[in-house]
Amino acid sequence: MSENATGPASAAAARPVPPVAGPTMRPLAVPAADFRWYPQLTRVSEGSVVAGVCAGLAEHLGVRVNYVRLAMVLLATLSGAGVALYSALWALTRTAPARVGAGRVDERERRRGMALVVVAVAGAVLSFMVTTATGLSVIVPVLVVALGAGLVWQQYDGGGRVAPRSVFDWARVTAGATLVVVGLAVVVLGQVELAALRSSLLAVVATLVGVGLLSVPVGLRLWRSLEEERAARIREAERSHIASHLHDSVLQTLALIQKRSDDPGQVARLARRQERELRQWLFGAGSRMSSGAATVAGAVEVMVGDVEDVYGLRVDQVVVGGDGPVGDAQEAVLGAVREALVNVAKHAGVDTADVYVENDGRTLSAFVRDRGSGFDPDTVDGDRHGLAQSIRHRVESRGGAVRVRSTLGRGTEIGIEMPLEGE
């Protein structure tokens, strides 16, 4: 009745294997319901012809899916026992999670499966008629109702889609509902006289209203407790998410700091890096850092963090103006800023610096300032000169300008201006 995309030979090998990892290792990724010590009968959602019951059974039992289908068809000819079994299994088993690599069944197999479905239903009907001597007038409406119910079931089955989305989904649900209603109507209208129709309709409506009135509070209550449970679950998930993040970051760093308490430089570095990470996690979610180095602001933050970690320099950075992608011009400025910060760390004799980056739409300007020893720009030694050249060269080759202001004893400021094109 239904097919499995994997070949018959690999059906046994593809049997679902219980996850190896214990639930304590990754409490969030593996919901407790998925963990079992024994294989559980599941339906196969991908590549099923009707509902994946036969494919699931075949996988579970380790036999070819064709044999299962044939057995179902034979059972169906026993007054419809196979159909009943199929429906029961459909209703009572869960769908297996979709596996990677399993596609849909090909057309040939689907056609064969459909043919078997027709054979099974016809066999079931015929054997039922023969054994119980019921007429077609009863069988046909029942078949119509069953077909309609099957269509609707299929819609609300796998994939977790509750609301119909595509035109096809809607058509299927509508057709199924119509079949059910028509089938029931034929049965009912066949039994009642038209004269009594009005009063019976009234009775039905009155009953429905009564049931509705009585069940509303119960339904509301169920709904509310469901919502509460859901909210609690979300809170719990959030809490354990936070806990695991803090465990992986802050607690680890604190443990490291306790171990290294005799090395103040290392402690300061660890604390600073942790502060930056936590800050980014708490305040920067979704904006700058999460976009990585794709934007100027993000790139500045990454670059500054890098320098802070490597050189133990504490950098206060301010980024102002429109944030944009990092192009060649931006990259040159960022590289120069990095170089300037490294200079501060190496030569200025201070452990703090200020970085200011502004993009006013036409110019990208950057300033790196420290309050260190400073130098006389006219009498710099070769080493210093070279580094200044590397900053200058980077920026000026792209049409920018670099201005260095330094006063002995009062620190240095390097200003970079880079014109932006095409904005």
């Binding site: 305040f283 904006s287 301010v318 102002v320 103006g321 200011y356 036409r362």
Partner: protein, 243 residues
Amino acid sequence: MTDGSQDGPEGDGGLCRVFLVDDHAVFRSGVRAELAGQSTIEVVGEAGSVAEAVAGIGRARPDVVLLDVHMPDGGGVAVLRSVLGSDPGGVVDPARAPEPTFLALSVSDAAEDVIAVIRAGARGYVTKTITGEDLADAVRRVADGDAVFSPRLAGFVLDAFARATPGPADRGEPVHDPEVDSLTPREKEVLRLLARGYTYKEIAEELFISVKTVETHASNVLRKTQQSNRHALTRWAQSRHLD
């Protein structure tokens, strides 16, 4: 705001009375220790919650309140609202005792937090990594009626005003927007230098103006941030938040 109503008792080298509000006792004692070395500053009380703070400030009548931004039940903004009333920075009723000046001192440097307390009436914003000396200096400055900007706060305000003006910001040219009382070129320049890490004194040297003038500019920027530009800032903060 700039009427100088705050520079009463501490104006002539008198003692500046400070009240600490922070929900972390460890941090309060740390600040206390840092300020203990300052001869002109006296810590007159502390509080660990919004309710305690409102009651404590009413009793102790400090000159300056060092205010944490993130606290349970409303945070620094709630304290500002209940102490300053519904009209922060408005005309102060002369019959009432002079209200304390608020200096926000927070570990958070998220734009929303900073802008929120400034709009609620804080006269400055510094982060908790500030040194004790700088903190004491900031306290004295707000007590004298000036605004204290950290570089980051200056950046946020610049950003806010740049976004509030239509089109690409024209450097050096005042933008006439009927809705937005925008910054003057000089104020922008002052803010930009602040964001670059300059002190008020260095800015004064750089722009060939007096320190007092720099302070006036900063105060004006703060006033505009608190009042005239409230709409634009709300919009900006929201857009930033939704980004």
